[in-house]
Symmetry: C2
Subunit: 506 residues, 2 copies
């Protein structure tokens, strides 16, 4: 029944275009919109998402899916058509399960809570935010109930973002990580002086940083014919289709890492978007496989490539020509060491490669405890500070630098944090496989050649879009399901060497 | 029946938001979109306009209008509610009269014709474009037939853009203009050397031009809290709501007029948008009264204010401080004379204040002749060149600088040119009234005070949005319907003085 699929595709194309228009409006809001535009923009967002939601959740889409499933039952699982029907069905059922009153209540609660969270953070006064967080916990729980779950409410939320992954599995992975990182962080802390990053912290001309960063990500493979870079307070990447994938960055004269590594991070997302097959365009399959898989690409390019010694063996000489003054007397290896300095910090978004996952673990555990009713909102700051101390060995000085730091809990979306850590893990798992197939990868990077690496990722990850769940994708790309072992091995080896640690074998 | 109006308003708000999203996408395409984005953007435009059109032309809107008309028949004509129902009815009936096949055919013909027009213009070969123009003439005629008209097909097209104005009335106005301008242009040509504009043509730093222009339009009253200025190939103004009204400009180191007067022109449109009553927001009333009335505000601020001697008596000293080198030895009056130099040119968009209307007349006459079947497309270049000679006294050297110069005939929208001339006329008619009420206007301008002028325009024009047709608006604002006499008197007086002409009395 080609007609059924054709009609389904026409509706999905319409919904995609509406969502892409929303994305253009969001990009504009973060880059160029004048302050007076806030109210009109909120109206436009609300209308576009309502129109898209109404269209996608219409009975017509349900009928077309029923017909398409009946007519295409024997298609190969991996085919575009079978994947389109399978993934659209999953999206459709999830969207239909949420009553529109609940969706409206969530939108209202989120916009209501935000200014209170801002005020609470500003005044470092958790009590001002607590009633709104209580409401948000309740709404998250109602979302979980509406979506349904077999064992744990967090499963329902996780299944929306990382389909196929259960809370039990995630806990097991996180436990394995914790066992490895907590002692590593402590070891590094004891030898903090072994790595010096003072060279990063003075006098990098902002305009030159911006153009150096843009030149660098272009060399990695981010296509400026189908992209551009702008400035925003919080860097992000965003796609309006295969032909238009943008990144933003920020720049700090007195901290080199922000602009260059931020740009490589976002370009990693951008290259993923740019590599999704055009055959999937304007359907529910045209996107990253999951937030976790998406983050694997930003982290892979930022850390596994951009923070590697071969990378700086290639780039350092041009960097030094660009910034002769601040880099006088520095060499590639010293610079490599500097950009990899690790130290425990209170703030997640400033965290380094080793400690980052602990920040995520902390949040996952606490939001899961709240959702399952084990932790009351009023006890959250104390729980935060205790867990933080046990992970980082630090006393949290105040709620602003503690439990109030992230915007995420001010809107209803729980289960967003795990994606950051899944990204690290998936990136390392893919890289382990890549190194087994491309044994001279380090030499390629040292020569500034990234085409073969990008080609592998395009072939094994990017082009598939959302056809596969994270685990389906990992099994096809690496031969095994999600495992934190490659990432743990990577950080132990890298940071063991950087800090001169004597680590036990795994 | 407040419920009826409320439901109608909710739908109009949704349609408005969709159209505003389209406007954001259009702004982005002209300013920042990477080249690869063209195809995705075209898909997004097509989807958004289709969704908005479908919603606005739904039977539900028709029913709500019927109910609202019945329930509100006794409302004051000038009230927001009566105006909303009246104007929405007009828009609705016009939109419903066009069969969707015709709308689709027009969209297809426009996108097909454009590259052929571009090639024809590039090669200065009208024959390449002729078949597409023939199709467009036919489609314009079918639009006119579908919309309906009592006397002349052009009436139907004109009624969409300038409601209430007939082709006969327009011809009478244009004849009056022609009678006045053609001899004036000839007189000026004979004394061309009386005004020297060489000072405008060298060495104005582009960045300083941009910031001077932005500073100037802010002083006139364009609100940057609710606006911004960017660069684009063709300057334009665009509104995404009362809180976000943007302008673009371009800049030429070796021709001063482009950036500053282009910016004032677009800021004139921008101030109009910014002044529309918020009580009309998200309805069909939130826009300019017509393209002609809109253009009256860009031309009023650009020419009647920005190209006046009092304006330069105020601004010239700061301009000279900004550009000391190119303006060495120049005074305010010499600069005023330079920016007002008039000379016949082949290209409409480069035309000065006096000759501009002749370019419009020429196009109006020819497109009307084609629509009424008196002129065949194959005879168009000859007709163009003959008429041009009779108006400007110049032989058109080739079709690229003649009949192929404008993009307008490559899409189906005839009847767009008259708005440019109506703008000049309406601007002068409003200004005559303003001067009768604000006798010290020139002194205010000389002191750099524009608040009272802007306030008058907000009160009498801007805040009303689309509540009134151009003539209804003019009658309320000036006490009489549209007349070209104030504009004719203005140019005769101004250019008579500039060129030392001895003109007969009117």
């Amino acid at each position: 029944m080609p007609d059924t699929l054709e009609r389904l595709r026409a509706i999905l194309a319409e919904v995609t275009d509406l969502n892409r228009a929303t994305a253009v409006l969001a990009w504009d809001q973060e880059t160029y919109m004048p302050p007076g535009g806030v109210q009109n923009r909120a109206e436009q967002f609300s209308t576009l998402s309502e129109v898209a939601h109404r269209r996608f959740t219409s009975d017509e889409v349900g009928r077309l899916l029923d017909e398409a499933e009946a007519a295409n039952a024997k298609l190969d699982f991996d085919s575009d058509e079978a994947s389109l029907i399978r993934v659209t069905r999953r999206d459709y059922d999830q969207a239909r399960k949420l009553p529109s009153e609940l969706v409206a209540e969530i939108a209202h609660a989120s916009s209501t809570a935000r200014p209170h969270w801002q005020k609470a953070r500003h005044e470092s006064n958790f009590g001002l935010f607590a009633p709104y967080l209580e409401k948000n916990v309740e709404l998250n729980r109602r979302v979980a109930d509406a979506l349904g779950f077999e064992k744990r409410p967090y499963d329902a939320l996780l299944n929306r973002t990382e389909p196929g992954l259960t809370t039990d599995e995630l806990e097991a992975i996180f436990d394995e990580l914790k066992t490895a990182i907590v002692p590593l962080v402590a070891d590094i802390s004891r030898r903090a002086e072994a790595v010096d990053d003072s060279v990063l912290r003075h006098g990098f001309d902002p305009d030159q940083q911006l153009s150096y960063a843009l030149e660098t990500v272009t060399k990695l493979g981010y296509d400026l014919e189908r992209g551009r870079q702008d400035i925003s307070t919080h860097p992000f990447s965003i796609a309006f289709g295969p032909g238009d994938v943008r990144i933003t960055t920020r720049v700090n004269r007195d901290f080199f890492n922000e602009c260059l590594f931020g740009s490589i991070h976002e370009a990693g997302h951008g290259m993923y978007f740019q590599g999704i097959g055009r055959n999937l365009d304007r359907t529910n399959l045209w996107d990253g496989a999951s937030p976790g898989v998406h983050e694997s690409q930003s982290r892979l390019w930022e850390n596994l490539v951009g923070r590697s010694l071969p990378f700086w063996n290639h780039f350092f000489s041009s960097l030094q020509r660009t910034f002769p003054e601040p880099l006088k007397g520095v060499d590639a290896e010293a610079f490599y060491r500097a950009v990899n300095k690790s130290y425990p910090s209170y703030i997640r978004v400033e965290a380094d490669e080793v400690t980052y996952n602990l920040h995520v673990l902390l949040r996952f555990e606490l939001e899961n405890d709240m959702l399952e009713g084990r932790l009351k909102v009023r006890d959250l700051p104390e729980a935060w500070n205790e867990t933080f101390k046990s992970y980082f060995g630090l006393d949290v000085p105040n709620d602003r630098e503690g439990v109030l730091q992230d915007i995420h809990w001010s809107f209803v979306g729980f289960a967003e944090f795990p994606g950051y850590t899944l990204g690290n893990i998936i990136g390392a798992q893919l890289m382990e496989k890549i190194r087994s197939e491309m044994t001279d990868l380090d030499h390629q990077i040292e020569r500034g050649e990234f085409g073969q690496l990008l080609g592998w990722l395009q072939e094994n990850v990017y082009r598939h879009g959302r056809k596969f769940t994270p685990n389906e994708l990992l099994e096809r790309a690496t031969g095994r399901p999600l495992t934190p072992k490659p990432w743990i091995a990577y950080v132990r080896k890298k940071y063991g060497a950087l800090y001169g640690l004597r680590l036990d074998k795994d």
